[in-house]
């Protein structure tokens, strides 16, 4: 249950971003969470709510964008979605392919109400 720590880090990141837009009120924050990030969306949403309810952040909504695991073939450059852990290139059959997304835990955007 590290989602509470992660929710806290999200709020810290929002706080840092808001400082760059004086007077603006953040109303929504969106995250990209890869399927390999080891982060549970429900627990994260729950932790986020627990941290914001009854505070100045109470109106801040959280959007979680789940990102599937995507690989690229170093031989033929094909990019493909990994389903059921099958990392073999569907185009040329190469077995060693590289992960290009699916393990991210990033902020995507913040929506601000400006004064």
């Amino acid at each position: 249950m590290h989602e509470l720590s992660i929710a806290n880090s999200v709020l810290e990141a929002v706080r840092a971003e808001v400082l760059r837009h004086p007077g603006a009120v953040p109303v929504k924050v969106a995250l990209r969470v890869g399927e390999l990030a080891g982060v549970d969306s429900d627990a994260l949403a729950f932790g986020f709510q627990a941290l914001t309810t009854g505070t100045e952040w109470a109106r801040l909504a959280l959007e979680i964008q789940r990102k599937p695991r995507q690989h690229r073939c170093p031989v033929c450059k094909t990019e493909f979605l990994v389903v059921d852990y099958n990392c073999i290139c569907p185009a040329c059959g190469a077995s060693r392919t590289e992960c290009i997304s699916g393990d991210e835990l990033e902020l995507a955007y913040i929506e601000l109400e400006e004064p």
Partner: protein, 222 residues
């Protein structure tokens, strides 16, 4: 309403500190390894076996993380190498800040191996970079062989899988062939060693892996 794109990792503060730690480790040619497993898979036993095999004066130190108690530090300190307990007081993982604090007062120039035993948990520690050179996941045969599929994140991010307690294989329904296959399905490049900290079986393979890792980190002599 204004939408601002933010290119920033959620754990960027942790990653920043981890990056500083990694630079310090590299500057002093210290190999830092982050050991992760569920509770009871044998991280502490693996460290005990590892430390007992080192000669006096080996340049090794250990940080060991637990939610409560300093039992592990006590177990590990008897081998005579520097050991510090990190008690997280509830947190289910170590983060880079805890490691940074725990290192205070230690001279990295006196070390070339730092072993970090994370809090027993297969989920949360996967998200937190500690500045390590490699993550090592320990899985015991007393658990299920499908753990790599259920906890893909940690197996995906680990360089080495240590399959522990292989002395129990005759007594448990663990399918070791499947376990290897599942781990490689999640992470095709993962290296695997099989050991028993109780009988000592396979320990030489683990020590050899450590030696390679440490040799690779040493500057090439002119």
């Amino acid at each position: 309403m204004k939408r601002v794109a933010v290119e920033r990792k959620v754990l960027s503060e942790n990653d920043r500190i981890a990056g500083q730690l990694r630079e310090r480790f590299c500057a002093h040619d210290v190999v830092c390894l982050n050991l992760i497993s569920s509770p009871g898979a044998g991280k502490t036993s693996l460290l005990e076996r590892t430390l007992e095999g080192f000669p006096t004066g080996e340049r090794v130190a250990v940080l060991t993380g637990d939610i409560q108690t300093d039992h592990d530090a006590t177990r590990l300190a008897r081998f005579g190498f520097p050991v510090r307990q990190i008690t997280t007081g509830g947190a289910c993982h170590l983060d880079a800040r805890m490691v940074e604090r725990a290192l205070e007062g230690w001279r990295l120039e006196d070390l070339d191996l730092l072993l970090i035993e994370n809090v027993g948990n297969l989920v949360c520690p996967a998200s937190y970079d500690l500045g390590e050179c490699a993550k090592i996941v320990v899985l015991s045969v007393a658990e299920g062989e499908d753990k790599p599929l259920k906890y893909a994140s940690i197996f995906f991010r680990s360089t080495l899988l240590v399959l522990n307690k292989i002395d129990l294989l005759p007594y448990v329904p663990f399918d070791i062939v499947r376990a290897r296959e599942y781990a490689r399905r999640v992470h095709p490049e993962i290296e695997i060693v099989e050991v028993s900290c109780t009988s000592g079986a396979g320990m030489e393979n683990w020590r050899q892996w450590l030696r390679f890792r440490r040799q690779a980190a040493q500057p090439i002599s002119p």
